[in-house]
């Protein structure tokens, strides 16, 4: 398997303050290997080190210890070879304020060495792809937050990057615009096969877009895997709530397959199982056989937000 990102024992400490120096250990020995062509999410609470991690990979910050290889090249000694092949888009997009959408794209295309017809063609393609035709001649200052974000994504594709870093790409956007941005991101990944690493605080977004999740806390990778595996690993199953009249003794055997936990209350039982689709018929059967008259039943599936809350605690 070909890896586009390889990190081993990566540490980063920021020293600040004067005259008294203070230290912030942003990363404490991160190991990570990202295969080619995947779309991975980097999650974690505020200050966990997500942006530091992306910035090290984008060569905007240098790690003080550890090995970092991007697209098979050492980030320190081969940065020149890496930079034409990567790009970055971040939330709260900012670009030179007086330049229009078209001029901004032209400028960044020039920074990547695109000239003449090739540049104009690429800029037009991106303006079309992100539906920016109506704003092509509007200065950056005059754009709405959503349009600024679309420009940021368009800019990040100016060089057809093999590896794309997205730092909270939908932060501050209304749900409709955020959805459109997500669709654009997904189509970039599917159509171009671009490897994407994305940080986000939006769990639904991570669950919808990302194949794998890397959970970072206090500068360390705390969990890693597909969302379903993480839920199972943390025993965050589906929650089944049964309501009935009166009190009944628990008819569920303690050693029932897939049972994570069981809570008995006055007029209700709350049962957490690995997969409600597999376990519900058996549970209902046991209750009905026990003569319990079920008044109501509700099911709540565990989602990535539960994973996040559990890991962040």
């Amino acid at each position: 398997m070909k890896f586009v990102v390889e990190m081993e024992g990566v540490h980063k400490t920021f020293v600040y303050g004067w005259p008294r120096k203070r230290k912030n250990h942003a990363l404490r020995g991160v190991d990570l290997a990202v295969p080619e062509g995947v779309f991975w999410g980097i999650l974690g609470p505020n200050g966990a080190g997500k942006t530091t991690l992306l910035s090290i990979l984008a060569n905007l910050i240098t790690a003080e210890r550890g090995m970092v290889r991007v697209l098979g090249e050492d980030i320190r000694s081969r940065a020149k070879a890496i930079r034409p092949r990567i790009n970055l888009s971040s939330g709260h997009a900012n670009f030179p304020w007086s330049m229009t959408v078209q001029e901004n794209l032209q400028y960044y295309a020039m920074l990547y060495g695109l000239s003449g017809k090739r540049r104009n063609q690429r800029v037009e393609e991106l303006i079309d792809l992100f539906d920016l035709q109506d704003f092509a001649r509007v200065p950056f200052d005059g754009l709405s937050t959503g349009t600024k974000q679309r420009l940021s994504l368009a800019k990040s594709l100016i060089n057809n990057p093999e590896l794309l870093f997205l730092d909270e790409p939908t932060v501050g956007l209304d749900p409709d615009i955020a959805n459109r941005v997500r669709e654009s991101i997904l189509s970039i990944h599917k159509e171009k096969g671009t490897t994407i690493l994305m940080t986000t605080h939006n769990m639904k977004e991570a669950e919808t877009l990302c194949q794998n999740i890397v959970f970072i806390k206090e500068g360390m990778v705390k969990a890693f895997g597909v969302p379903q595996d993480l839920k199972e690993e943390l025993r965050l199953g589906d929650r089944i709530t049964l309501l009935f009249d009166g009190t009944v003794s628990s008819p569920l055997p303690d050693d029932m397959d897939g049972l994570y936990s069981f809570e008995k209350g006055n007029g209700y039982h709350r049962i957490i199982v690995d997969d409600h689709r597999k376990r519900l018929p058996q549970i209902l059967d046991i209750f009905v056989r026990g003569g319990v008259q079920i008044r109501n039943l509700s099911i709540q599936e565990a989602d990535l937000e539960d994973v996040f809350i559990t890991l962040a605690r």
């Binding site: 920021f14 020293v15 942006t51 530091t52 910035s55 984008a58 060569n59 905007l60 910050i61 240098t62 003080e64 020149k80 930079r83 034409p84 990567i86 790009n87 970055l88 971040s90 900012n94 670009f95 030179p96 304020w97 007086s98 330049m99 001029e103 032209q106 400028y107 960044y108 020039m110 920074l111 990547y112 060495g113 695109l114 000239s115 540049r119 200065p139 950056f140 800019k155």
Partner: protein, 267 residues
Amino acid sequence: MSLSPLQGEITKITAFAFKNWIMTRRNIFTFFEIIFWPVVGFLSVGLLAEFTQLQPEMRAFILLGVIAMGAVQVCQLDVCYALLYDVWSKAVKHGFIAPVGIMHMLLGSLLMGIMRGTAVFLMLMAASYFLFDFNFMVPGATATFLFAFGLFLNGAMVGMLVCILVLVFGNRAEVAAWSLVSLMLLVCGIYYPISILPRWIMFTAELIPLTYFLEYFRQFYGFETTFHHPLARGYLMVFGYLFLEVLLLKAARGRAKRKGTLLKLSE
């Protein structure tokens, strides 16, 4: 080398000139930089010279200094704007993730600085001729060109120093974009010969190439030079400083990556 990589390098250089050009066109404060401040400064000094009934050679001395200063100031602003526009728009990280180097930035912004500096230089030359009867072309076209180019390189030198300071100290250091030139005004003999300065300030003046370019051009108006071969000294010194600054700017960029300044400048 095939045409394509070379074309790519030229495109990267012109990107910085393109950005400065667009920002110049769209921002009112650049009007003040190109026309208002240089013209106001020039007229004030010119009128003062008229009022005090200075001898023609003294008037030449002062007008020459003020025109040179205007050209240096405009050019240095363009060079430091290559970074400052990104700092002000919080887009620093987008520039630094792109495959461009210090030389692309320096050459591209200097290109624009030379254009704007030439505009100011020519405008003030014409104004000095029509308003104060001072002929700037006495030394001839070659000497004027060598003098003007030297001024632009001085501008690049100051602009680079501002960029270094911003990368090291963050946006608090942007004040250097306006204050460093004022310091040169005091030290380099813009309005007076450096020979009247205290010894230690004179020593500082000797370390600044602008001093030599002014000496070189003023000799055509009958002023004795303090130094031998001022033009050669000026060029040697300015190229030496520029080379040193490229290295320092690379080091400052490395430090900014270690300290996280590039991200802070983008927040």
